[in-house]
Amino acid sequence: MLALMVYLILIPLYRMLETTFTYQEKDIYYDRNAVTGELTLFHWMRMLTGQVAEVLTYAPLQHSIVISVGATLLALLIGSALAWMVIRTDMPGRNVINALATVPYIMPSWTIAMAWTVLFKNRTSGGSPGMYEYFWGQSPPDWLAYGPIPIIISSALHYYTFFFLFVAAALMSIDSNLEEAGELMGANRWRILRKITFPLVIPALLSGFIMTFSKVMGTFGGPNVLGVPVGYYTLSTMIRSNMGMGNNADGFVLAIVLIMLAMVTVYVNQRVVGTRKSYETIGGRGFVANQTKLRNWRFVLTAGVILFQIVIAILPLGILTFSTFMLIDGEYSPGNFTLHYWIGESTPSISNGVPGVLRNPAIYQGAWNSIHLSLWTAFFTAFLGVILGYAIAKGRGTRLSKLVEQIAFIPYVIPGIAFGAVYISMFAKPVGPIPALYGTFALLVIVSVAKHLPYSARTGVSAMLQVGRELEEAGQVAGANAWERFRRIIFPLTSPGFVSGFLMTFITTMRELSLIILLVTPSTQVLASMTIRYLENDDTQMANAVIVILVTLVLIGNWLISLFRGGSLKKGLGM
């Protein structure tokens, strides 16, 4: 187990670091003295102190921080407010809101970004303008069309789900007696909220903060759609741009900067929370927490929230679908209506002769790759989860078990695109008996499985701990060997958790982009990466059609999850 962890996580990290300190073949163009393979600080100097450092490193770093902080704070606001309304008010329709709250997270993260461009695109980036200009005749300002503000909004609308889930769970588990004790001593509602409820939710807010912050930093889709066209680069898009030019070592430097940034966040979080104040909220004795009465505001708020959810979940899809029916980009008259992008034959004058998506074998190949990748990833992740959980739970307290658990946690803090970069360095060349995996489908599976390790390890361990030692010992006394005990006692008792884990991994892998964008090649394209490729070729309608297909597949998958008892997004996140 330890060997596998080292192979999947530690060695790739080391290889990446090593690459940044050696001359690459291409470096001869930049530095006459470069000798391929020789040890050098060249890449670090170039990226951190050189003439290009400002453009290649510091500006993207600053942008990444601005976007991450902005999106995380906005997500915090939206997620916590929704959670509070669902858990702690007498608002009608809370069940509907609760069910809809996780939908934006299920959809690909750049869906809203793409819908945004369809709406607000202006002439700054070239090409045809968006709906806003078409219908209002006025060009939207640049700050609304591109750059930090739309990226922050579109990312927050996707990632607020973490805050929603964490805060809702925390609010639900707060013992209502804790608030009543304050009430009894004469504290008013505001004081109770400020002095008791809020501090008790802080740990949840911080976990949400870490998770969201590191995800937004590593996110590629949104910044690529809304930032790159106007040269607003973040670390993630800059990494890809460097890699695209073949400057892998430079890209790795940025990836390491990104990883360090994420690690600092985690460190700060742990310092702030500390161990003394960390606590499990002790369950009460089942009194329903007192709900804030909203009185006349109830219906207004419900209507507002549901409208909001429709706007962020359904409207983007509607806009994207609508745009795929337009023959010429940016022209929304009925005469421009076409089904060409869906079922049209190849016509040289449209999209360089690419046929409609439903007639295009490349799309079917991509869809098949997506499903394939998700199934394999889900399978191996669930499988590893069982084994990891068993190994860690069995050896609980030993140093080895702790080490495995800690290594398995590392991918959690490595932003998606950086994790992809790590794997390029590892598998570009053969390592020992393992061939160079770059360009293969297997590599996509490996990187996806490795990225899911923290979740699977956590679900695995908690599932195993729930079973309890006695049940297994009873089997031992009855004479069952280790395999028998695992097969007949442990596995049946823990499998429901793994089924939901399996389904959840399936969905998240299906719409994952940041992680694999650096690793896909034309033969291993998945739907997620195809949307980006079409977008970059300016085939907007194609890109939008592909994302509509992808969302449809994901929603079908999600519907399948809901058929399984106990399957939920929450469990998939290891909560």
Partner: protein, 361 residues
Amino acid sequence: MGTSILIRNLIKRFGNVIAVNKVSLTIEPGTFLTLLGPSGCGKTTLLRCIAGLEDPNEGEIFIGDKLVFSSAQGINLPAGQRNLGLVFQNYALWPHMTVRQNMTFALEIQKMPKEQMAQRVTDSLAEVQMGGYESRYPREMSGGQQQRIALARMLAYRPKVFLIDEPLSNLDARLRIDMRAELKRLHHISGATTVYVTHDQIEALTMSSDIAVMKEGVIQQMDTPDRIYRCPANLFVADFIGNPKVNLLEGKVDSANSVDLGRFKLAANTRDATGQVVVGVRPEDIAISTTPVANAVEFKTYSVMPSGADSTIVAQREGLEVTVRVMGNSKIRMDDSIWLTFNPDSLNLYDKASGNLVVSQ
């Protein structure tokens, strides 16, 4: 310094369930009243209604001479303005605050000067023998220590009424006995009117000045511990109080001073009791002999259970089972013949149909 509490015709419903059903209660200043009953009898709900954490549907509550709740007049004083303290079953210590912060929370609301606040913390901690724990967080203390801190938090702001909800149920047996003594002592010192909720009859009997036994939202009997034990007002109270349980023997009043139990007749002060009755007799009120005695009834021992200070003997005769308690370690063995004497003055007679006490000892 205690305050009286007066409750009139209080009703609290949860949907179709009536948790508190027309309860009327007068609690004199300085009383230690225990609300005793099985789980689900409405005792905690009644306590929470007094505290102001639950809104009753009907009735009135006075604390001192202040009307704090009245359905008729639409009065419902918020919990914080009733000047009472509540110790929760699970302590409800705020996990993110130190002991000191937990204790000064209420004092800060009262805007008490800093020095006085510090003095209060020190004094209150001393009262529960927890001096020196000011900077601990709740999770850094054992259950028993948390319990004491929960008490100290209440003592710190000197409420007129103590409301205590099953505080000992989460402690182990040994600690529970220690804390009983502590609580009784605290009540003695402070003189605060105390309403204590428990399902443990030993706690109720050992600590209270009065006990109110509840069942299905109705107070069955409110009396001193001794009266509750000796003269239970109905079969429910008789059966609920006492360990080992009271013997309840069904029979028929056949003539003056005699109850026919079917297998044998029992001399009793029947007074105005008639017809079908249930005779209640405490296990320790039955005299036992290993040799035949005049007016005694012969039984066979079914099981003998010595427990050090006393022994419990289960005896049978023609399918009738009687529990007897004797002091010391009994020499009687299983399947021995024994002779039991029922003292007419120690019997309570209940009407079988209504279950109410008709003749008390």
